[in-house]
């Protein structure tokens, strides 16, 4: 009968492991393409400002020739990556990150170095979890 089959399925499900990932005690791998936070290669950047102009949300603002980012506006689309002619601005896949900006009226902050380290620790700190290698993706 049609009423019994669903009960058998749910009975079977009682004995299976749940699909929940017990974050933050267990973490799952994320794809290397996930766009979480910007990095800037200050050697190859040619100060053209196209990334700031192409950003749909006015996240990037050029300061002293380099882009600075206001993360309260960013939607992590990656259009700035497509626009950059040299590929200096990239986005890395962090598992978690938190951005602390204290004692400042200006929300625009320096972008990270390509290796993930902070450019100017006195002004801002960006804490991040270790990025994962390999795994599912």
């Amino acid at each position: 009968m049609g009423l019994i089959k669903p009960l058998l399925y749910t009975l079977r499900e009682l004995f299976r492991k749940p699909v929940t990932v017990k974050y933050p005690y267990e973490k799952r791998d994320i794809s290397p393409r996930v766009r979480n936070i910007h990095t800037l290669n200050r050697e190859t950047c040619q100060h053209c400002g196209i990334c700031a102009r192409m950003c749909p949300n006015n996240v990037l603002k050029m300061k002293d020739g380099y882009p600075t980012a206001d993360y309260s506006r960013c939607s992590f689309c990656g259009i700035c990556l497509d626009a950059c002619p040299t590929g200096s601005i990239q986005m890395i896949h962090t598992q978690e990150h938190n951005i602390v900006r204290a004692h400042s009226e200006d929300l625009y902050m320096e972008l990270l170095n390509p290796d993930g380290t902070v450019y100017n620790p006195e002004v801002a700190s960006i804490g991040q979890d270790e990025t994962n290698e390999g795994g599912v993706f």
């Binding site: 009423l3 669903p6 009960l7 749910t10 009975l11 499900e13 009682l14 299976r16 749940p18 699909v19 929940t20 017990k22």
Partner: protein
Amino acid sequence: MCVLRIWIGDKMLADSLLFKLFVFPGTVFSLVVVLFLFWWWRKVGAAIQSRYGPKHVGPAGTLQTIADVVKLIAKESIIPEKASRWFWFMPVFSFVLSFLFLSLIPFTDHWVILDFDTSLIMLFAVMAIEPLLIFLVGWASYNKYGLAGAERAGIQMLAYEVFLALTFVPIIMLSHSWSLVGIVYAQGVSPTWATPVAHTFVNRGVWFAVVQPLALLLSVIAVMMAMHIKPFDIPDAEPEVIYGASTEYGGPFYALQMLSHFLMMFLGSGLIVSMFFGGWEGPYLPHVAWFVLKTLTVGTTIMFIQHSMPRLRLSHMMEIAWKKLVPLAFLNIFITLIIMEVLGWV
């Protein structure tokens, strides 16, 4: 179990009514049972839905209920301006009513608070007041969602009352007894105590679940309809009326209603165990433990069905109740008569 052997004067403490009323199976025990049952309900539901349920508060989440109840009691109880002045009375009264229900259920023939030879009729009366209370709850809150839920509770009550009484008729026919303790005795369970009340019964020697499988199925459905358990939880159907009759009740009132809901679920299962599964019979363990274990098993089965089925539509429920279940209950009575003829039971 040394508390059971404390003597006060010339009577044992465990024989006194006050002990039964307040400790076991009264207030303290029922609170413990509700705390356990709520946690267990959430764990069973979560296991079916492929997730974990409460995990962090206490070992495997067992203290989650206490945390939730404390949180709810600490909240402000908001009473709408135009609500009736009986607003606060209803949830309290329904909690009290479930204690009345509790006093009638025999954990064993010793551990029962109210024992007289027509306790089943009293039980029906108590079960019949409850939907009226729900209706009053919905009316008193001056809330159109509450009223809509209350109307549905009234409709559902009309649908199940007749059918509930009819499912219990064969049991009464078989056991020749109107009291729950008598019905348990009639299943071949030997008395554990000399009860002060004389019970008339006819000993059939077999659990009624074996002789009356159809009645068992029907009474499980009837209990689910009476306690508003899915698939019959139409009065508090979230997608349609936000929380039914008790939409407006928040904080401490919500905690009270939740507790009384789970207490009723336990008691409904206890009723089924008394009537079909031989009450407190069982080897080795104390009789009370067997009763509680059997009740929890029946309760778990009801919870399992609850979490695995969708909700019925109101008109569909009425159709099923009046067109299918009431005739089935009559058929069951007829079959019982035939079986009694064949087996020579009088």
